[in-house]
């Protein structure tokens, strides 16, 4: 577990350094994700069981990790109130459009691929 956590934090660390050094418009953890994925693909064998267990443990409790940031809404209650109308329209409508576009393109192209 400690080895796996060290590897994950190291990937994030290197990702963070790359993000700052190159001013890439990507968050450090996303670059870390790509680094780890590249390493796994280059080695081309099943990841270490310890890494799989630790990652699954972290991902299973993903929801918990969002909670402290979510509670931050308490500092933004006035912003939410002031923009209630814009948010109540923008969020559902854009979510529906995203679902429709992704589902439609994927359905069409997947069918073409199968036939």
């Amino acid at each position: 577990m400690l080895n796996a956590l060290t590897l994950l934090i190291l990937c994030q660390f290197v990702g963070e350094v790359i993000a700052r050094a190159t001013s890439l418009p990507l968050p450090g953890p996303v670059i870390g994700l790509v680094l780890l994925l590249t390493m796994l693909a280059l080695r081309n064998r099943a990841p270490d069981p310890d890494l799989t267990t630790t990652s699954n443990w972290l991902l299973r409790h993903f929801g918990l990790l969002f909670v402290p940031a979510g509670v931050g809404v308490i500092t933004q209650l006035d912003v939410l109130g002031d923009n209630a109308v814009a948010l109540l329209v923008a969020i559902p409508v854009s979510t529906l459009l995203g679902l429709l576009v992704t589902g439609w393109v994927m359905q069409r192209l997947s069918r073409d691929e199968d036939s």
Binding site: P29, A69, L96, T102
Partner: protein
Amino acid sequence: MENLFHLWVYLETTPLLGLAATLVVWRLATLVAARMPGMALANPMLISVVILVALLLATGTPYSAYFQGAQYVHFLLGPATVALAIPMYANLRRIRRSARAILPALIAGSVVAAGSAMLIARLLGAPRVVILSLAPKSVTTPIAMGIAEQIGGQPSLAAVFVLLTGLCAIVLINPAMRLIRATDMRAQGLAAGMAGHGLATARMLLISETAGAFGGLAIGLNGITTAIVVPLLATFLVR
């Protein structure tokens, strides 16, 4: 009474209280959510946030004092995001096989979801910080917060928008898929993961394993796609 007051003053200044409260409330929220399966709003994260906000308001505790303890949980978002590489690697062969369908679907959805949210908010007069925090709302929280910070939004606002978006996606996915006659589980799963990240994907997993796998894939890929697309959109749509 005097002693109790001293105890409270002590607890307020240590990180222990915020950390313990987060973990205990999360435990309670998962128990509550488990007793209400199939209810979109019975989400442990939503329940936890509501309870903790109520507690902070009731005790007059400032968010900064709470976050002093909660930051230890918050910090794990980074390593957890990196850990998304593991399920993605497990699906790598499937990803390669349908790459020609997945990438156009994700890029189109990502541009439309982020662009329409920013445009609508702008037309309805929302300020710059709100528009920029809305942009990454379809992405999983840690990535969304990172993107929001990067482009000048407010990470905690972005986290709230992500949560609301996930709840909307859960409610809208079935009517939306019927409307476009998307019967393919790969298409339904990808749409759920793209538009509604982990919340909608967890929901799809109850219906179909294939949908769940493609949803998980969409969460990771959309995180990367949106991180590249949104800063570009922001320069066009926000001045």
